[in-house]
Amino acid sequence: MIDERAARRPILAVGTGRCGSTLFSAMMRLHPRILSVSEWFTVLGERRAIEGGRTTGDAFWKFLTVPSLDVIEFFGRDLRTPEVLVSEEWRSRAGAESIPPIALIPLTHLGGDVRRIMRELRDHLLAFEGGTLRDCHDAAFAFLARRYGKQSWIERSGGSLAYIDALRGAWGNARYIHIYRDGPSCARSMSKHPYFRVRVARALARTPMPIRACLEATIPVEQYGAYWSAVILRGLRALREVPREDVLHVRYEELVTEPVPVLRRVQRFLEGGVHAEEWILQAIECIRIPAHCRAVPAGETRLTRACRAGMTELANAEAG
């Protein structure tokens, strides 16, 4: 039997970013009953997409389809960022300022005729009376879940552990899957990724530095470790406030080396006693371990020192 009570509640997959959560989204996309929404909050400006007052369906539709300056500048520089899934044809015909943010990743991730789904979503939201931002996101997610023949949804945006306070503020009844990975490996991967180079440069400068300046800044790798530790410290503190049965911690290294027991644990968390062995067998086919994801050799460096705070927090969380 499906645990209806659990299935109706929002499920948010959170992590530091560069922690394997994209793989998790890809696995969830194959789930027969749960819609996997990917990078929805990322392309809509993260906190900006969550914190705010009431809005109408019409205004919300504009919010989903008009990119912010950050999105234009970030993706306008290089639409070939690996996470961007929008079709080559759309990329070549349009500049970053004219690609709707939800087409950049989230709707394309779901598959099918993206333009048609956008039209249907637009019609649905224009008829929606509006409400809080959460109500509007819920309306969009519920529509998409029905559209794809699913019963519920899970949202996963890379790096969302950094704004879990905002997520908790909006979705007070959410359940969480926290995906995490060895700190130094994660930090090294962040240091090579433009999105996290912007985040860390801004965190260090403590101002909303222009994206170009962020990408040109030279940042020691240990600062990515410090950023990672800080996100873990804050994020796990927030997760400790959530009832224990509503949080599942998933270690990336286990997900890729022992996927079957880990995905069974995920399935139990998602749907109680419902078996989904077929999904698990399909999901493990998603696993590809790129070279940059392999573990960093041990030995104390400034990077491992910077990651120590987060690693200790994670060890405490694992110990329960």
């Binding site: 965190a203 260090l204 403590r206 240990e222 600062q223 410090a226 950023y227 530790s229 800080a230 996100v231 410290l233 804050r234 503190r237 400034r302 020192r305 910077a306 120590r308 705070a309 200790t312 927090e313 405490n316």
Partner: protein, 92 residues
């Protein structure tokens, strides 16, 4: 390690990380509101203090410091971390 030496290392490190002058960091200064301290600065702060004092603080020190409200509160917690580490070391 005297509390005064720990405090001096703390204030010098804070000044460096928050771009304030040492003289501008009073005991009553509020970490978030006045100095803009966030959890990333706390992680860097622990490393900076370790470097200044030539020691390694126990694992998890950052977690006990991250909620401090003022410089005085942070100093008190940090002195507590050193004391706990010293008493743990002497009991081994």
């Amino acid at each position: 390690m005297t509390p005064e030496r720990i405090r001096r290392a703390l204030v010098e490190s804070l000044a460096e990380l928050t771009h304030h002058s040492v003289s501008g960091i009073s005991d009553g200064a509020r970490l978030v509101e006045d100095l803009g301290v966030d959890s990333m600065i706390v992680v860097n702060l622990v490393m900076a203090i370790e470097d200044r004092l030539g020691v390694r603080l126990p694992e998890g020190s950052e977690s006990s410091l991250v909620d401090a409200k003022t410089v005085a509160d942070l100093t008190e917690r940090l002195v507590g971390v050193f004391r706990a580490a010293a008493s743990y070391g002497s009991s081994q």
